[in-house]
Symmetry: C2
Subunit: 139 residues, 2 copies
Amino acid sequence: METAELEKKIRERNGRMTRVRKAMLDFFGTAETPLTATSILELLARRRITANRTTIYRELRFLEDTGVIHEVRIIGHGRSFELSGGHRHHLVCLGCHDVKSVAFKNHLDSEEERLLRDERFRVSDHSLEFYGLCDKCSE
Amino acid sequence: METAELEKKIRERNGRMTRVRKAMLDFFGTAETPLTATSILELLARRRITANRTTIYRELRFLEDTGVIHEVRIIGHGRSFELSGGHRHHLVCLGCHDVKSVAFKNHLDSEEERLLRDERFRVSDHSLEFYGLCDKCSE
DNA sequence: ATTTTTATTGCGACTATGTTGCAATAAGAT
DNA sequence: ATCTTATTGCAACATAGTCGCAATAAAAAT
């Protein structure tokens, strides 16, 4: 999603462009890994921006409700979030615990059709995480 | 996994068959949905088995280390666990919030090969969750 | 059947994570 | 410059999970 598009979405919700919100949009826009409330607080501290934990949690909820970000759940990691849009999946290294977001199409359409037929389950979204060893850790 | 096989694994770890452990193996063996520490405490209470929260958390870790169960992370739900073995994926209903474990093969082998080639990431496991509406909730 | 070994348990205290109400502040429209 | 109300900080709370230690209880040894 473009920065302009994000700001439009936020204005539609009567959102104001505060310092914390601007910084968080920047973080999410450039992060190559999902962010937790705690990691966001650390990123803010590095920019000398002080913010209460409560503010971060409320902001995360706001951005999620607005459709700007969505939640990601990964084994061994806290509740995290990343920018919406695109088909984001995750490579979770069991060695260094790094998480990399990767965007790619996959072949799950037929699977989702089968679930509708056999399980009468109407899929609207899915999440896919790969666990293993990254380049650095696989030696 | 068979009950006998589970007990063997536990004995290999010098594990003893306590009331709580037996009950938890039973719960995991019959549950069609992943279990959280809290839901296990409730199941125990129904059987008139009192147990401390700490015990449950320690037992979950023991069973995970032993390879009997593995962790499951689902958006909107607490940290949960289910029996290992088989290829378990999940159908998460956004209406009633029920989670159903389903075992099926999928077509991700070629994807995992591609990740090894393109990302130099050595996949050892993956998790796949489908979010949507179950039969009851999709009307 | 008793004793012995040590895995397991409960308890209390603690940390981390996340939420709520309310009064104070500040974005941005008028 | 003023006004409206979105946003913030704070304190208090709720929930989830962990740790050390002494007490208990499997189950092996006697």
